[in-house]
């Protein structure tokens, strides 16, 4: 919503004079003035529906009983909300609603006992004979019943007798207790734009659900959980926490899974993280989340494979040891190590404190510069490009408030969903969307102009458009030819964009990897000079920006200054140009197999998929406190909702910064006197000029100290091969592990493995979806499964380059392709001639041979 000044008006509610902002409904005006009007179907984020009729009021000079939720409040209006007639009518209406709702828990005489014993809700259910509803205090119906004062129902009770729907992941649906308020439907349609849910059938059979009896997975559900959160009854409920009853407490924290940094509410019960809901924070996510933030946190930290004990290799055995023992051994290995003998690889998912301590450990305690981060891979295009991007005005709110939006290469179904929601919010307020994407995406259906260039040419299209904005009759002939986009369409898009004032540019992670980078950079530079323009460059990794800013990359010092002295880098190791003696992996597993090093240390929350010599258990996002830097530069707080595990059973995981401090102490380095994460943050703010000393949610623009190189690879994809092979970075990575391997429900939504081609192309190759094909790029040949995917344009082959290797071993099959630095590339595709084999076998040989 654009920040228009709203006028304040005055009206009378129940004979009291109250003020309200112009344009709100009577219901909202009453709420703002602490007047209670019962309501079941209205919701602040949703359009009025007028379905439950509980909110009836009397308004002077209006006939009948208007609905407070769908009547706009007007200056001088006189409203009565609580007359005897209204009370009687509401009772009647509510009884009708309840006649189709199992109501024992609402009017039951055991109600108080039931509430009191809520921590054993299942048993209560058995003893009081009520087993309808999760009773997780989410139920607004209970409250309304209580306040309306119903004790009995005069209508015949009708139980619908539907089967409870358990099949989809993450949440259950029991439509026997649905009151058909339509909140979930409106949420799914209006806010999420997903339209999975709709009303179906009518009369007594009316129900909510996807079309044609499909499951939510089949119907394209994002599993954002927004519908679950707004359901006023227990119909929709989280599988994992459904029977937990009332939480012990709720704390606001930051989602640790991507750079958007949504604000979440962590529910805890008996000292454990039990459930996550969105926070109504207006700055970033405003009550919305994606599947990862909403549903994946508890399982990601509580999974039975969590490794929480220090381990050392002792001959043939991998043994549990004490912290002292492991610190002794690891420190011993690192003592006096030289720059070319060592490499520390750090995940961009660590907290700022962990990242800073990591680089400080390598630079001060070891006195070398051999540190690298996978953040580098998440920021393709060169560090200079990102130094530039981070110095621009990056803003989530900017998307919501824009009147023109350009989206490049973004599919927001499972990744960066919240950005997708913001785009749709802007569209609802009349903004125009221009999508530049070779692939079909979930945004393409809302877009005004969809420019569909050859993959890799998105940057060129953007550049042409940017040059054209505001100019009359610019020619698009050559660009049109080069990018295969219709000339007229380009002109239309430009004229749409020229009519707007506030422009938001949202760029998905695939685009930065493309070769037409040069034009992309030109376009962004041009856009940066334009006023009223905000950006949203999206990358993988939760704290990638932090890793960049705090110098967890060999050539950068904290504060984006140039480092002196060369160190080993990750790509040196991958390409085999360096073989350090000791490799220290901090929350990251960038290999499928153990690299050829003498001693490998892993510090993380899960074991890597290969043998290591020392394992140091790191505390998870739920156990450690700290801060994360989001894409906008906000330094946001990560709350330690659980205590650090500290027993033989629970293990002894410790925060990353603490592990580094102890190692440093052992190495007689005096600069690690940290007592808490807060102390580390203070130290950061001393070292890095505009870094706050306390969590501070102000967006910051970066001021780089050094001039950094930009990778400008121009030129097209050469070669006569008929197909374009496109890599898309994907996967639900967190600290080097794919969450899909730990969170059961995610597995069902996990990224597609293998190759995806347009069905027409598959037909021409005479390959059925699911059969195997061979893809050759130059001398490299890889075999994998092919799937038909309508969203791929003809003549392309897409594959997912996982951002995390840990956890899903079958991905090793395409590994040689993950190492290709160029995308898209020309490729030859043929039906595979190899013998029938089980598709699951991971051919370790292929992966090893490529190195």
């Amino acid at each position: 919503m654009s920040p228009k000044k709203t006028r304040t008006c005055v009206m009378e509610i129940d004979h009291r004079e109250v003020s309200f902002p112009e344009g709100v409904t009577v219901l909202r005006a009453a709420e703002l003035n602490d007047v209670y009007i019962p309501s079941l179907c209205s919701h602040k984020d949703l359009s009025p529906f007028g379905g439950c009729r509980m909110c009836i009021v009397e308004i002077e000079s209006m006939r009948g009983y208007p609905l407070a939720c769908s009547t706009v409040a007007a200056e001088g209006m006189k409203v009565l909300t609580d007359t005897a007639t209204l009370r009687e009518m509401r009772k009647e209406i509510l009884q009708l609603i309840l006649s189709e709702h199992p109501s024992s828990c609402l009017i039951c005489s055991e109600e108080t006992e039931c509430r009191e014993n809520q921590h054993t809700i299942r048993k209560v259910g058995v003893t009081t004979g009520c087993r309808y509803c999760p009773n997780d205090i989410q139920c607004e119906l209970q409250e309304v019943v209580e306040r309306t004062g119903i004790t009995d129902i005069d209508y015949p009770i009708y139980y619908r007798g539907y089967e409870v729907e358990h099949d989809d992941p993450f949440y259950d649906r029991d439509y026997n207790i649905c009151i058909l308020c339509g909140r979930c439907v409106r949420m799914c349609q209006e806010v999420r734009g997903t339209s999975v849910l709709a009303f179906k059938f009518r009369g007594p059979e009316a129900q909510i659900g996807p079309a044609f009896g499909k499951s939510h997975v089949e119907a394209g559900c994002e599993f954002c959980g927004a519908c679950v959160s707004v359901c006023p009854t227990g119909t929709l409920a989280d599988k994992a926490s459904k029977w937990d009853g009332e939480p012990d407490g709720i704390r606001v924290s930051t989602c640790p899974f991507c750079g958007i940094g949504c604000q979440v509410e962590l529910h805890h019960k008996d000292g454990r993280l039990s459930k996550v809901e969105a926070n109504l924070d207006p700055e970033i996510n405003d009550g919305q989340l994606c599947v990862r933030g909403r549903f994946c946190m508890p399982e990601a930290t509580h999974h039975h494979q969590r490794a929480k004990k220090p381990m050392l290799r002792r001959g043939e055995y991998f043994r549990e040891v004490t912290w002292d023992e492991s610190i002794d051994e690891v420190a011993g290995k690192l003592k006096g190590i030289k720059a070319d003998e060592f490499l520390m690889v750090v995940s961009g998912d660590l907290t700022n404190e962990g990242l800073f301590a990591a680089q400080k450990f390598v630079r001060s305690a070891l006195g070398i510069n051999s540190i690298d981060s996978t953040a580098r891979e998440s920021l393709p295009g060169g560090l200079g490009l990102w130094a530039k991007l981070f110095s621009l005005s990056i803003s989530m709110k900017g998307i919501r408030e824009a009147d023109c939006i350009i989206a490049l290469g973004l599919d927001s179904r499972f990744y960066f969903s919240v950005a997708g929601v913001d785009i749709r919010r802007a569209l609802k307020n009349g903004a125009n969307l221009v999508t530049i994407d070779a692939r079909d995406s979930n945004l393409a259906s809302y877009t005004k102009h969809w420019l569909r260039p050859t993959p890799g040419k998105e940057g060129a299209v953007l550049d042409a458009i940017v040059q054209g904005i505001g100019k009359s009759n610019s020619g698009f002939k050559s660009v049109a030819k080069k990018t295969d986009v219709d000339e007229g369409l380009l002109a239309q898009a430009v004229s749409t964009l020229s009519s707007g004032e506030n422009l938001a540019v949202v760029i998905g992670p695939t685009i930065f990897e493309y070769e037409a980078n040069e034009e992309l950079i030109d376009a962004l530079t041009r856009l940066a000079r334009r006023t009223n323009t905000t950006f949203m460059p999206l990358y993988n990794g939760a704290n990638t920006r932090g890793a960049f800013e705090l110098g967890v990359i060999s050539e950068l010092l904290p504060g984006v200054a140039k480092a002196k002295g060369k160190g080993v880098t990750l790509s040196d190791v991958i390409e085999g140009t360096a073989t350090p003696k000791v490799l220290y992996l901090v929350g990251e597993v960038p290999f499928f197999d153990r690299p050829d090093c003498e001693y490998v240390i892993a510090q993380g929350t899960y074991y890597p998929p290969f043998e290591v010599d020392a394992f140091l258990p790191a505390a998870s996002f739920a156990e450690a406190e700290g801060t994360l830097t989001n894409v906008e530069g906000r330094v946001q707080e990560l709350v330690g909702i659980e205590d650090l595990p500290d027993s033989a059973v629970a293990g002894f995981a410790r925060p990353d910064w603490l592990i580094f401090s102890r190692l440093a102490e052992k190495l007689k380095c005096s600069e690690f006197k940290y007592k808490s994460a807060k102390a580390v943050l203070k130290d950061i703010s001393k070292t890095v000029a505009d870094f706050p000393a306390k969590a501070d949610r102000k967006p910051r623009r970066l001021t780089p100290k050094a001039k950094l190189p930009i990778d400008r690879h121009a030129g097209g994809s050469e070669g006569a091969d008929p197909f374009l092979l496109v890599a898309e970075p994907a996967g639900f990575a967190h600290r080097g592990t794919d969450l899909a391997s730990k969170v059961e429900g995610l597995e069902e939504l996990a990224l597609e493995e293998g190759f995806r081609l347009n069905p027409d192309d598959l037909g021409k190759l005479r390959v059925d979806s699911g059969e195997r094909i061979t893809v050759s790029v130059g001398k490299l040949t890889v075999t994998g499964q092919a799937k038909a995917d309508k969203e791929c344009p003809r003549g392309t082959v897409y594959f997912h380059r996982p951002v995390a290797y840990g956890g899903l071993e079958h991905r090793a099959e395409l590994e040689p392709l993950y190492r290709l630095r160029k995308s898209p590339v020309k490729a030859e595709v043929a039906r595979s001639v190899e013998k029938k084999r089980s598709t699951k076998a991971a051919p370790k040989k292929t992966a090893a041979a490529s190195r």
Partner: protein, 156 residues
């Protein structure tokens, strides 16, 4: 059951009558599909929604709300027995029972061979000749019990 397969060419032809991306023509297009196939097949609805840029759930919502649409294929002969007040009094239920046992289906259902669909309707406005049965829209009045078998075979 070859009949349940949808000929995509036929569906395309219907779609081409409506401008792509225009969601307002959803109901009209659904009516055309219903007329062409005798029901709204899932595949046709999917094609339509893609064409009009309407979420499939909306089409389903509409198709299940209005009685004019059916999501299941209908038989070659649609038998509608009026069970309005007048017809009821004059023995409509006997006719329904008779048809159920001849066809071996419940009201609202279609025979396995897709030849007959049995439906009941409320007053069709021909109370004077109650009880009324319509076969593919053709009304038969004063229907006597025991004559149904002959009637429907004849109406084929």
């Amino acid at each position: 059951m070859t009949k349940t397969c949808v000929d995509p060419k036929k569906a395309r032809k219907i779609l081409d009558r409506y401008p792509s991306g225009d969601g307002t023509s959803l109901i009209h297009a659904l009516q055309d599909i219903q007329a062409e196939f005798g029901y709204v097949p899932c595949e046709a609805a999917e094609l339509l929604c893609e064409h009009l840029s309407v979420p499939i759930s909306k089409a389903f919502s509409a198709a299940t709300f209005y009685k004019a649409f059916s999501l299941e294929p209908k038989g070659d002969v649609v038998i509608r027995v009026c069970t309005g007040t007048a017809c009821h009094i004059r023995g409509a239920q006997t006719l329904v029972d008779e048809l159920c046992s001849i066809l071996n289906v419940a009201p609202g259902k279609t025979t396995k061979d897709l030849k007959f669909t049995l439906e009941t309707v409320n007053c069709v406005g021909a109370c004077a000749m109650a009880p009324v049965v319509s076969l593919n829209g053709e009304y038969h009045g004063n229907v006597q019990p025991g004559t149904m078998s002959k009637k429907i075979r004849g109406g084929k």
